[in-house]
């Protein structure tokens, strides 16, 4: 009974710390909201307005038909038509064009008689990701034209369908980044804030006083991290609501499941925060360690911004031990595909196991400080 009062006293005290530190509180609450907007508009991997050059030495009806196809899309804008490919280098270098479609003389002729007629697509791949995407879009336009020529067999119809989906000008990247952003926000609030608040008490000396009190180490930790659990959840809900209002990001699956998984991932991050603060001598070091040890992997290796599939093999292997990677997969499944626990139980088990291991490790290293 008294014990519970002691714990409640600790939670109350931590809440006071948080509420009185207005600046930090504002940062905690506003940063995620701002980030949704920043990421939503800045990290879009969608492509629009590709400036296209056409090199058409001997125009004929077929080249015109294909050129019209490009012109008719929302994505491509033909900014230059040339007879030879001589000044393409200059156009690319000056950035006037992103892409060039190069025909050879007698295109219609070859198409009618010889079968496949070569068309060259040249893409500015200074940014490999957008380059690949532009290449794919251009190829899709050509293939669409091609399948239109051959009449619509079943295979041709399939190609056309997939092309249309890709051209659908939704902000698909917003859908993809919001689950990652939730992981990021949870990491910052849970890992960073607990690490800072624990190492602050270590630094000021109040931790010692708590440690010589009748409170057990696990009670001290529980009392300290409980408020952050709440703040973390509140921010997740805010981010979800904002993403929905501004970008129309869907939540197709169960909101309760998403929050429960969010709570689990918050536990993972809290454990990491405790572990790091127990192993580092000062607030500053703890902060750096959290930034390097949790936030960086969350951004780089979780699939938040860079798809896991496109990572080099060693990094892809490394991503397996990043808790955020599993949470992002879970959150994407629930939000975008509407999947439930039946499909996501494996990821959940992995995350739960990681949390248990990290909690055990963090408790041990917290205790070893007492020796």
């Amino acid at each position: 009974m008294r014990k519970r009062a002691a714990l409640a006293g600790l939670v109350w005290k931590e809440t006071r710390h948080i509420l009185r530190d207005r600046k930090t509180l504002a940062v905690i609450l506003l940063m995620p909201l701002l980030q949704v907007i920043l990421f939503g508009y800045a990290i879009r991997t969608d492509i629009d307005d590709v400036r296209l050059a056409i090199v058409d030495p001997v125009p004929d009806h077929a080249t015109h038909a294909l050129r019209d196809r490009f012109g008719a899309t929302e994505l491509f804008r033909i900014v230059a038509v040339r007879r030879s490919s001589a000044d393409l280098d200059g156009l690319f270098a000056s950035g006037r064009i992103h892409q060039a479609v190069v025909f050879q003389p007698g295109f219609a002729e070859r198409l009618a008689h010889d079968g496949p007629a070569p068309v060259q697509v040249i893409t500015d791949a200074a940014e490999p990701n957008t380059g690949t995407a532009m290449q794919a879009y251009a190829t899709a336009v050509i293939r669409e034209y091609e399948s239109g020529l051959r009449g619509s067999g079943p295979a041709g119809a399939a190609v056309t369908a997939s092309v249309r989906m890709r051209f659908n000008p939704t902000r698909e990247s917003a859908n993809l980044f919001v689950p990652g952003l939730i992981a990021y926000v949870i990491t910052i609030i849970s890992a960073l804030m607990t690490a800072i608040s624990l190492s602050r008490e270590k630094e000021t000396g109040t931790m010692e006083v708590l440690l010589v009190s009748p409170l057990r180490p696990r009670e001290i930790i529980a009392g300290k991290v409980a408020p952050y659990l709440l703040i973390g959840m509140a921010t997740v809900i805010l981010v979800l609501a904002e993403a929905r209002l501004i970008f129309g990001v869907p939540l197709r699956g169960s909101a309760a499941l998403l929050l429960a998984e969010g709570l689990l991932f918050t536990g993972t991050s809290l454990a990491l925060g405790i572990l790091i603060s127990a192993r580092t001598p000062s607030q500053r070091v703890a902060m750096t360690a959290v930034l390097a040890g949790t936030m960086l992997p969350t951004v780089m290796l979780s699939g938040f911004i860079f798809p896991i599939e496109s990572l080099p093999a060693p990094l892809r292997l490394l991503s397996v031990v990043i808790p955020a990677r599993w949470f992002v997969e879970i959150a994407r499944g629930i939000m975008l595909k509407g999947t439930g626990l039946a499909e996501l139980w494996q990821e959940t088990v992995v995350l739960a196991a990681m949390t248990a291991a990290l909690l055990a490790a963090s408790m041990r290293s917290f205790r070893t400080r007492l020796e």
Binding site: K13, H17, T204, L211, V212, S213, P214
Partner: protein
């Protein structure tokens, strides 16, 4: 041994090759003001950390309030108060909030907390400052408040680790009055210091040099054999003797 508030037998703590506390043996009786003297790095803080259960001893044994430090940490922690050499209150909480927090941590009822808060504030003449944040108080007040808060749950033994560091002489004097008052109420006071004038205020003093207790007794007993006029002289003589033996 049960009548001793603190009892240490060959208490030792090593960090790797370094022996911070080297087989110290002493008893502190109930209600005594026991001073632990030594230069920085002499092992005072390590000793206090062992006795408060923050560090496990490498060898030897000790009891505090009748309980073994190595095995009965929790029982000890209920019966002791502690004030570290660093400031031990929360600066962003008010005076009243700090008192209430420590009260609940030590399992006091709200009624007890209210009652003792009143007594404490009156004793410190801090009545008008309950709603002030502790960070805004002068250092002397902070230290006195920290000491009073460490006594809030009426511990049997209170450990003070260099409580008067950086405090002006007048406040130090007031601080010692608080210590005497606590001892009169039956609390055993274990205090470390490197202010030699403060050593004169203690009932008995242990002088630590390089992890060992070089001398133990009342200030008078320590001064007489060395022909020293002040504790300062006693300390310098003992420290030099320790150094010349090449202890460290």
């Amino acid at each position: 041994m049960t009548d001793a508030a603190i009892s240490a037998r060959g208490l030792t703590r090593r960090f790797g090759d370094f022996t911070a506390v080297d087989a110290i043996t002493f008893d502190v009786s109930k209600g005594e003001v026991f001073g632990f003297l030594g230069a920085n790095g002499a092992g005072k803080t390590t000793a206090i950390r062992i006795l408060t259960g923050l560090l496990a001893p490498s060898a030897g044994a000790a009891t505090v309030a009748g309980h073994d430090v190595a095995r009965e940490g929790e029982a000890i922690r209920r019966r002791i108060g502690y004030m570290s050499q660093r400031f031990s209150l929360y600066g962003d909480l008010t005076v009243g909030e700090n008192i209430r927090l420590y009260g609940t941590i030590y399992g006091l009822t709200p009624a007890q907390i209210r009652e003792r808060t009143g007594i404490l504030l009156e004793r410190l003449e801090l009545g008008g400052q309950v709603r002030k944040r502790v960070a805004s108080l002068p250092l002397g007040w902070k230290q006195k408040l920290a000491f009073s808060v460490a006594l809030l749950h009426e511990p049997e033994v209170v450990f003070l680790d260099e409580p008067t560091g950086g405090v002006d002489p007048v406040t130090r004097r007031q601080f010692w009055e608080l210590i005497y008052a606590a001892a009169e109420r039956g609390t055993t006071v274990f205090v470390t210091t490197h202010y030699m004038d403060e050593a004169e205020y203690c009932d008995r003093v242990a002088v630590m040099v390089a992890g060992r207790i070089e001398a133990l007794g009342s200030p008078g007993e320590l001064k007489a054999p060395l022909g020293a006029a002040t504790m300062d002289d006693v300390f310098v003589t003992l420290a030099r003797a320790g150094a010349s033996r090449g202890v460290r």
